[in-house]
Amino acid sequence: MNARGLLLASLILEVSTARAQNLHFPQTIIAGSPFSVSTGGSGSALLYIVGPAQVLRRDVTLGEPISFAAGDLYRAGHYLAVVVQGSSTETDELDVQPAHEAESLGFLAKPSRLPVNVHNGISGAVYVFDRYHNLILSPMPVTLELASTSSPTLTKTVTTQNGLGWATLDSAAKEGAARFTARAGGVSSTRIVNQVPGEPCSISIAAKPVGGRLEVQTAPVHDCSGNPIPDGTVVTFTESAGISQSTVDVPVKQGIASVAMPAIRGAKISAASGVVAGNEIRWDGAR
């Protein structure tokens, strides 16, 4: 192909309705793979490969193959290839597909902290990328694993769709940090999920006189899985005597909440935390 053989720039639209005759790009390449393009004609020219994802510019000699080394064109997408020689141009098109091998994962794991025993409480969304950070669109298995020292390991395997695999998992029955790991194609990514005790399962209180007051104390407070609830959880003590009522909020310390209240004969004392109410004590002056 010589310069005269090239169509005028003003006719580019017409040229582009058909594949170029003297510029022979492969229709598809794999991201980052080496490839070669044959050209016709003679003389030096400029080659542009243009897409939203990447742009390349090359000085080329028409009539000679144009070689692209590994890693030259690496962004997945659709490209226009344009050869410019003087006022003449010729175009072709090509697609760049993501590579098939996973190189990194985008792992969105939530939450980082949650109560124990929450059904489907932990979610993981995994995006699988090739070495050039193209989303790998061909389906591939992704394994999500929740492992901790105190509970059996939970595992789910899903197949990616549009580059994404996702799953939800239950939090464990026992409190503690868990490793939430996503694996795909030999690549893994881990997040730490802190599983904390849930709400108190029940509250039991007892009272004894100390001086002129009553010392009211809970039994050790646990969630429904037997985990001691964390210090700082508030227990509300209420004492009712006739028309008077007094309320005290007390944080749990080392699993127990205690408070000193007026010793009023006939008073009713109860405790609650969140939606859980404990037993009620009626103080008759003896015990």
Binding site: A9, P52, R57, L164
Partner: protein, 165 residues
């Protein structure tokens, strides 16, 4: 203010009078593989923000100004487009991407609400220019996969990738 008009539920929009040059937009009903329900308000925001990102991208790649990308793109998508802007500038070219139509569908809303994935069968005209000379022009039909994540005030495009046919 977005001037583009949306049609939800599959009805095709023809550009209205006075909106010549605006793309026609079709929104398919969501086909969610996630477990989180998608509120209509969220869907509308995502689509509007995504369509605005096309305007942003057009401006950035036409003017070779990566800073134009900041409101609408983040993460890998922003980095990639900014690199394209730089490469265009070094190559002495700029590109006009004029979208003509979008056919949109949301396909995933993550359970924790931190990402939305959608597809866009888009038709656009790509014009490669050196100074004011058109080097090439082509109308392209392309399917795109988009991942958006929420920022403080809007959904931003985090992954913007063509799906080769």
């Amino acid at each position: 203010m977005i001037k583009r008009m949306l049609v939800v539920g599959g009805a095709l929009l023809m550009p209205a009078s006075g909106l010549a040059g605006e793309p026609s937009i079709r929104v398919e009903p969501p086909k969610l593989q996630g477990s989180r329900p998608l509120e209509k308000q969220t869907e509308d925001s995502v689509i509007q923000n995504y369509l605005e990102s096309w305007t942003t991208m057009q401006r950035a790649l036409d003017q070779n100004r990566a800073s134009q990308l900041d409101p609408d793109f983040t993460g890998a998508a922003r980095d990639q487009l900014a690199a394209t802007v730089t490469a265009q500038r070094l190559a002495g070219i700029h590109t006009v991407y004029q979208d003509r139509s979008h056919d949109l569908q949301i396909v995933f809303y993550s359970p924790e609400g931190l990402s939305i994935q959608m597809t866009d069968d888009v038709e656009y005209e790509q014009r490669v220019l050196k100074n004011d000379t058109v080097l090439a022009a082509k109308v392209i039909h392309q399917r795109y996969l988009i991942v958006l994540t929420p920022s403080e005030v809007r959904w931003q495009v985090r992954i913007f990738q063509a799906i080769p046919g």
